[in-house]
Symmetry: C2
Subunit: 384 residues, 2 copies
DNA sequence: AATCAATAGTTGACGAAGGAAATTATTTAG
DNA sequence: CTAAATAATTTCCTTCGTCAACTATTGATT
């Protein structure tokens, strides 16, 4: 078992995170990248190699003019430690085991009969045991568990202040999960966890500022500004879903009117599609099918939703001017119906050079939320 | 003349900025505040005292139980150095001399016949000379000039990339202003400069995240997140004025529709008030007078503008969850007409605990923009 | 082959910065 | 006058990172 990587020198943390997120890099490249002397990098890398976190790759490519000693890049030893991530929803636990590079190595899920905290925690314990004792022998190399929960989460204390979907209030999730699993637990809001995952291992790598927009039952946004996750001084941030974009739009459950979420969440789409198609029993999948089959009224519902999402994204972009934006979410399963409208809505309202901000739109792969949870525990190891 | 405060140890900068922004503080209080040992504070403070930036106040108040050596608070010697700040608008230069605590000591302004860069720079040189050689003998203790310009400004290079009001493109303002004035020049976007001023010396002091919204000919927003000014990766950030809040609202000069600015800028208000009052020659002041006199149609224009501003502020608050928000601007000269609507619009659309964010609304004192410019040069001295 | 230039990485001396704890300073309470 | 409490300083020490010299490894040139 590898020892705790606590209380590391700044340079050690910097080298670790940079190699982790920006792939194999030679010591000289790291020194340039981090503004350190090459000697400092040598010294910082040594303990990480000795602890088994980094390894030196064989020199391979020759770059530049060709002369000179070839660089030996430092790379993460991904299998030196594993991390469990679990996304907790109202009716399901989705769990994964990831390696240090956040690659999913195993996954499992459990349906929940009821979302009360006691029940969820017992199920969580069993799920984690299943994951760690299943094929792969992860148990001996796993110390950490990350949990992702929607709602207001204090990630420093591991307290879930309020989670509407779970109907939890002030649940000390970290403490209780540590007792049940015996692992070191990190708790984070689900959207923020996903944002960290994307910032460290996805399309946000290297971005100084970055926004992740999730579209689904809710519409959320995780923000990275100045290289750091934005938490909001009252625990709330990234509530793109409750930006009002249409004074005369539909009423939203938040009490306002014309919120993005009231127009573009899956629920809102179903509600509008039922009216448009005059079928009160219509499901989301039915709506998608109708729109793809050319139903003009239902198609307009998706178009309007896409425009609304584009407006919300434009608002984020106009305010913080991020390097990059990623739009994702289970609601984008039908993303062919949304994408052009999201882009058009964004382009129309993005101000000046903000319109140049790269926007990637893609469906959210299954397990991604749980992977986000695991990423948070990786981050807790590296940048503790 | 005091030497350059370049390349200081982190603790020295921390002590300096903390004393500067959070008033006289004893060494022990500073140590607690900054997470340093008291010894470190003693060492960090010494050079600052020797250079004349700080002074030790006589122990005054006894706090707590009463026993113990009284603390001798460290305070800024405000008159040890002066800073010039100039706000450049299309038709006017507004200049001030501030002390190290950003108190205005002298001010002057000049009307511009034309906004071309060459002309502006000659006038700038004369304005600065007037300020420094006027009463007060500031010249000998002044090394720095801050310039505030609306538009896209690269503050690291001092280049004005694009300023629509001035019709400037790629003007290397820092270089040229240094040549004309002989001072070390810092250039910043006007709203960002004002934000720094408010963050360091105004209501944003101590805030980890903070938003300043300015209402006037344009509607802008400066953001501080994680203690640092948000610049936007393409130079654009805080464009609250171009968040669209009404799909069917009036067309905006930016090409979109229903932008906050198209509803609530002074121009937009005048335009709408002329229609409402059926007086095509109406001025802003006339509109204010009519609204105050009870004209319902004109009053509704102000109400709608206030609501729109409130919506924009709610969008900012929902996204970044700031500690505090300040609304200011020359457009708020008639702020009695706006204030309740701004607050109501904000409260309606602020999500969850975001609604608890303190909101202060107040008219922008004359010279405040220029003071912001001076503040930027103070910041450049302290945190270079 | 020998040498040189170029680049990568290591090493050890050094200096700057900050912590720990003993010491000094200054006050009030008794 | 002494003890307790708090503030500030000082000294010693550790840590971290730079600097510059040095080793290592390659391709190119002669």
């Amino acid at each position: 078992m590898l020892p705790e990587a606590d209380a590391l020198a700044p340079a050690v943390t910097a080298v670790f995170t940079t190699v982790l997120t920006e792939g194999p890099l030679s010591r000289v490249a790291l020194a340039r990248r981090l503004g350190l002397s090459s000697g400092a990098v040598t010294k910082a890398a040594r303990p990480l190699i000795e602890l088994g976190y980094l390894e030196e790759l064989a020199a391979t490519e020759r770059t530049g003019p060709g002369a000179g000693r070839p660089a030996s890049p430092l790379a993460i030893r991904a299998d030196c430690e594993y991390f469990v991530g679990v996304k907790i929803t109202g009716d399901e636990l989705i769990g994964v085991v990831c390696d240090l590079r956040a690659q999913v190595r195993a996954s499992a899920h459990r349906r929940l009969s009821a979302p009360d905290a006691g029940h969820v925690l017992t199920e969580l314990g069993e799920l984690v045991d299943d994951l760690l004792d299943g094929p792969g022998d992860f148990r001996s190399r796993t110390r950490r568990l990350g949990l992702a929960v929607s709602g207001d989460v204090d990630h420093t204390t591991g307290l879930v202040r309020y989670s509407p979907f779970l109907r939890w209030r002030d649940v000390s999730l970290r403490e209780r999960a540590e007792k049940v699993t015996g692992l070191t637990v990190t708790v984070e809001n689900d959207v923020k966890a996903l944002t960290v995952a994307e910032h460290w291992f996805g399309e946000g790598v290297g971005a100084e500022s970055f926004a992740l927009v999730t579209v689904g039952a809710g519409i959320g946004c995780g923000l990275v500004v100045g290289g750091r996750l934005v938490s909001g001084s009252r625990g709330v941030a990234g509530e793109i879903g409750h930006i009002a974009i249409d004074l005369n739009g539909p009423a939203c459950h938040c009490g306002s009117r014309g919120c993005v979420e009231a127009i573009a969440s899956t629920d809102a789409i179903v509600r509008q599609a039922r009216v448009a198609a005059r079928q009160p029993e219509l499901t989301f999948d039915d709506a998608v099918a109708l729109a793809r089959a050319g139903d003009i009224a239902v198609g307009a519902v998706f178009a309007r939703a896409g425009d609304a999402i584009g407006s919300g994204i434009a608002a984020v972009a106009n305010l913080v001017g991020p390097d990059r934006i990623v739009v994702s979410g289970e609601g984008l399963a039908a993303y062919d119906l949304f994408e052009p409208h999201i882009r058009a809505g964004f382009q129309l309202q993005a101000f000046g050079t903000v319109a140049d901000c790269p926007l990637s739109i893609r469906a959210l792969p299954f397990e991604e939320w749980a992977r986000g949870a695991a990423t948070v525990s990786i981050k807790a190891l590296v940048a503790s």
